[in-house]
């Protein structure tokens, strides 16, 4: 319509954020507020013998101290799991409870055992130190595969072999056949290591029960306030839903870790009612390491079968996935429906079989982290592909081009039915690969690499060509797969009398720039200025019930809910305009903010129509006043972005240090509303994916201690670790949503990890190094070179 969609409009939210005027949860305070500190277990697995709170309670300034028994006696259970994945044999998934405060056992370092509330934070900390807890330490288990074996320490009484479920997808018989007849088989075994999210803003909560109107308010660091409200009200604290307001103000990054409704936040709200005063809790970074849900932690054996001509004929994987000590909200769908279903990748693999055993371990719970399941799937496929190409002596780009699914737009050609349940919407995999080969000047790059090697330098080139599924998701479909919630989104558009517009969005922005992108869509569609539109999100008292922001769904789900409301406004606007112009709505066209009688100069503007809607003196018969619509959009399918990455690394021969020297991407996320924001999402995603390949990873010892539980020891990528990225795109619109958009927030992460590892393996090829376990820290790379020597 207008010229805003597709333009790199500068962000509306930046003024306030740049001036330090952002309002994050910890920036809010209430009169008479108190401060909470959780007492946490230093042991990974122990019986809770006694929790003595008497000394802490007697301290000056301490308001109250609660234990697991207090919460249990109040009949409160902890947070819940939102996705049921049953055993292969039909047995129901094991679902051990997760009390807000431990009652008879602790199951990971950081498990909460008491909640101290005091007049100020310092006193609350001091009092937490005065709570005397007696533990009887038990053997712990941290390795996902070992946890499922007979004789492993059992973490929950009702979960034998620590196994929550086993699960499979694909055609086992066909896959077995493919491997039996294979000309060549490529094998890899690896640990897709446990990652710690580390959003720079720690989680926080400010809970208040107001006795005067019997209403609860919770300010919290959430990516999805409505879902938080539903879980807290209906499942955890049994509060009538309309009596709870959840506000997620500015949120300082989430990457998945702020999707979940954690026990800590529920405890704060519960305690505020017990003491009759507001309670504030802000995690420190150490707590973030020990309580924010971690990601990945898959132990996998993977195989790829090829025929004599280099065609892929089968793929088989067996994964042990740790869910940590307890089941977080969406922990169970990550290694299954967000991982197994992605194992087709971009290739015509005629037989695929995926087998997953999900276990509990004595580690911090695991759930969705940027990409959630798709990075694990893509790592598996793209490492296999590149290893296979090397083994059969084919160029990795050529091998991919040979095995790609041919282009399909989902309109003229139908969507592509995979072997693992999903139907891809549209794709042009060779298009992105060919473009990135051109951008990277691949032939020249190869010569440079060979020259560098001749010069004694270790340079490597690595590829990744990913397909991912995002824009979660058709509610009925995921419901049939065990999801216990819907996955639509919602948006209201309120056109005010003067023609200004407010969007109330069910999605929540925590860095994605919704204030800008959503306003761009509406301003463009209505032919009004960006300044004429604002966006409200994050407050359950004002926005319609949407499921929030994760899985790259804001634009493809909430954005299309906005489009539905836009259409409703236009339809009603046309009826009002037709009345004013004395014609029928069919005679009108809407362009540049005016309804015009086709073929004439007669027109009426958007502001005129909105004023008439609210001052309906001369008005169509039987038409309601007002111009205000709410829409819910439940997607017809997932959306399937894809792309091709090339990573170039140099490895220091003497130290084993890896440096990413060039990084090229060509991503296809369908139509793009704001290219600047999309590129920003790609950059951030790449840093996460490169971080996993080279730097990040939780290190546990056998007793379940997290050995790198601080920013000093856990290596978060820094500015001097990253290159400048060379991003580009192709556009293959999504055929099934009105905006034609896909999603981009996780693509960088999903695509990059294998590209980096592939590049390092290429650099080390003269040493005969075939595989390395992530992260590719200098000592690991150096040791591999020494061994090979």
């Amino acid at each position: 319509m207008g010229d805003l969609i597709g333009k790199s409009v500068k962000r509306v939210e930046d003024y306030r954020l740049l001036k330090g005027e952002g309002k994050y949860t910890d920036d809010f305070n209430m009169a008479n507020q108190t401060f909470a500190v959780y007492v946490r277990s230093p042991h990974a697995h122990a019986k809770l013998v006694n929790v003595d709170i008497s000394a802490a309670k007697a301290m000056d300034g301490v308001v109250n101290v609660f234990t697991g028994k207090d919460i249990k006696d109040a009949g409160i259970v902890g947070s819940i799991c939102g996705w049921q994945v049953d055993f292969k044999n039909g047995d129901t998934m094991k679902e051990p409870g997760h009390p807000i405060l431990a009652v008879d056992k602790v199951r990971h370092v950081g498990d909460a055992v008491a909640l101290v509330i005091a007049e100020d934070k310092g006193t609350a900390r001091d009092a937490a130190g005065a709570v005397e807890v007696t533990y009887e330490v038990l053997d712990a288990i941290v390795d996902p595969k070992a946890a499922a074996q007979d004789g492993a320490p059992q973490i929950h009484d009702d979960v034998p072999n620590n196994t929550i479920f086993d699960w499979e997808l694909g055609n086992k018989d066909e896959t077995d056949k493919a491997f039996k007849n294979a000309h060549h088989i490529t094998e890899l075994s690896y640990h897709n290591q446990k990652l710690i999210p580390n959003a720079i803003e720690p989680r926080a909560a400010l809970g208040h029960y107001d006795i005067s109107d019997d209403k609860y308010t919770l300010y919290t660091t959430s990516q999805n306030p409505h879902l938080a409200r539903l879980i807290i009200a209906a499942f955890v604290l049994s509060i009538p839903e309309h009596k709870l307001r959840v506000v997620a103000p500015d949120v300082g990054g989430g990457f998945g870790s702020k999707i979940f409704t954690y026990n800590d936040e529920c405890g704060v709200l519960w305690a505020s009612k017990q003491i009759g005063r507001p309670v504030k809790w802000t995690a420190d970074r150490t707590e973030a390491f020990f309580t924010d849900c971690h990601g990945r932690d898959h132990v996998t054996d993977a195989k790829l079968a090829l025929d004599a001509d280099g065609n892929i004929t089968g793929l088989r994987t067996k994964t042990y996935a740790s869910l940590g000590a307890y089941l977080s909200n969406f922990s169970t769908c990550v290694p299954t429906y967000l991982h197994g279903t992605l194992m087709q990748g971009a290739y015509i693999t005629p037989a695929v079989h995926v087998d997953v055993t999900a276990v509990v371990t004595n580690t911090v719970p695991v759930d969705a982290l940027r990409g959630a399941g798709r990075p694990e799937a893509t790592y598996c496929i793209e490492r296999l592909i590149e290893t296979a190409a090397r083994e059969i002596g084919m160029d990795p780009a050529e091998f991919r081009l040979k095995n790609f699914i041919p282009p399909f737009d989902g309109v003229k050609q139908p969507g592509y039915q995979t072997q693992v349940a999903l139907q891809y919407d549209s794709g042009n995999y060779e298009g992105t690969l060919k473009k990135v080969l051109k951008n990277a000047k691949y032939e020249k790059l190869k010569k440079e690499r060979d020259a560098a090697r001749a010069d004694g330098k270790l340079m490597g080139i690595g590829f990744s060509t990913y397909v991912e599924a995002c824009g979660l998701a058709p509610s009925a479909l995921v419901g049939s797969l065990g999801c216990r919630i819907g996955l639509y989104d919602a948006a209201s558009i309120r056109v005010h009398p003067t023609g200004k517009v407010t969007i109330f969005a069910g999605a929540h922005s925590h860095g994605q720039g919704h204030d800008t992108t959503f306003a761009q869509i509406v301003a463009d569609e209505f032919g009004i200025g960006m300044d004429d539109v604002n966006v409200v999100h994050g407050d359950t008292d004002s926005v319609p019930f949407g499921y929030g922001t994760y899985g790259s769904r804001s634009i493809s789900v909430c954005g299309n809910a906005i489009m539905k409301s836009v259409d409703k406004v236009k339809e009603k606007g046309a009826r009002i305009a037709a009345h004013k112009l004395e014609c029928s709505p069919e005679d009108l066209e809407f362009e540049n903010g005016s309804w015009t009688v086709k073929g004439t100069e007669k027109s009426v503007g958007f502001g005129d129509v909105s004023l008439t809607a609210y001052v309906p003196h001369d008005y169509p018969e039987n038409e309601e006043p007002g111009l205000d619509f709410t829409s819910f959009y439940d997607p017809a399918n997932f959306v399937f972005p894809f792309g091709a990455h090339i990573c170039v690394v140099e490895v220091d021969k003497d130290t084993g240090e890896v440096k990413v020297v060039k990084y090229f991407t060509v991503d296809d996320a369908g139509n793009v509303i704001n290219p600047m924001i999309v590129e920003g999402q790609i950059h951030g995603g790449l840093a996460h994916g490169i971080g996993q390949a080279l730097y990040e990873g939780a290190v546990y010892d056998d007793s379940g201690q997290l050995l790198n539980g601080s920013m000093l020891e856990y290596c978060i990528p820094r500015a001097d670790n990253m290159p400048l990225f060379e991003t580009d795109s192709t556009v293959t619109p999504c055929p099934h949503n009105p905006l034609g958009v896909k999603g981009i927030a996780e693509a960088g992460t999903i695509g990059s990890t294998p590209a980096v590892v592939n590049a390092v393996i290429d650099a080390l090829s003269d040493y005969g190094v075939k595989d390395l376990q992530m992260p590719l820290a200098p000592q690991r790379v150096w040791a591999a070179m020494q061994q090979a020597k």
């Binding site: 580390n198 990054g253 990457f255 840093a687 601080s710 820094r718 500015a719 990225f725």
Partner: protein
């Protein structure tokens, strides 16, 4: 101490960190706390012309100091040129690291008005950003240097 050009007198508990004092006692919540190990740089402020991590100083150590926080960077509502470059180049997403990033960039450009890419990356390595991959932050600082 003086904060953003205005003198203040406060009695504080000896264990109060400067960042707590700024946030909790003075309501200057633009200075953020992202860690407990002086690693993240979200709490960066300027004290007597030098950037420091305000979580590593006690408030009482700053008696008589001239403090500038992110709230003091814009003048009359107009962004400082470095802030303007961050906006132009999309150098922020969630905004949580941003106040610290802007101030560390300011320090760099004070000392080295024409830094190379490597120098920029080195200067902000004590500031973590989990959102941007640093790409656009580097571009923003380069732009601010070119304008300045």
């Amino acid at each position: 101490m003086s904060v953003n050009g205005t003198g203040y007198e406060h009695d504080v508990e000896p264990r109060t960190l400067l960042v707590q004092h700024l946030r909790d006692n003075m309501g200057l919540t633009g200075t953020h706390v992202g860690c407990d190990t002086s690693s993240c740089g979200a709490c960066t402020i300027i004290a007597n012309g030098e950037t420091v991590k305000s979580c590593t100083l006690l408030a009482v150590q700053c008696e008589g100091a001239e403090i500038k926080t992110i709230e003091g960077m814009a003048t009359n509502g107009k962004l400082h040129p470095i802030q303007e470059s961050f906006r132009e180049h999309h150098g922020l997403q969630c905004g949580f690291c941003t106040p610290g990033m802007v101030l560390s960039s300011w320090q760099l450009l004070e000392r080295n008005p024409k830094p190379s890419e490597t120098e920029i990356r080195h200067a902000i390595e004590g500031n973590f950003c989990r959102c941007t991959g640093y790409h656009n932050i580097v571009k923003a600082v380069q732009d601010a240097a070119n304008k300045g």
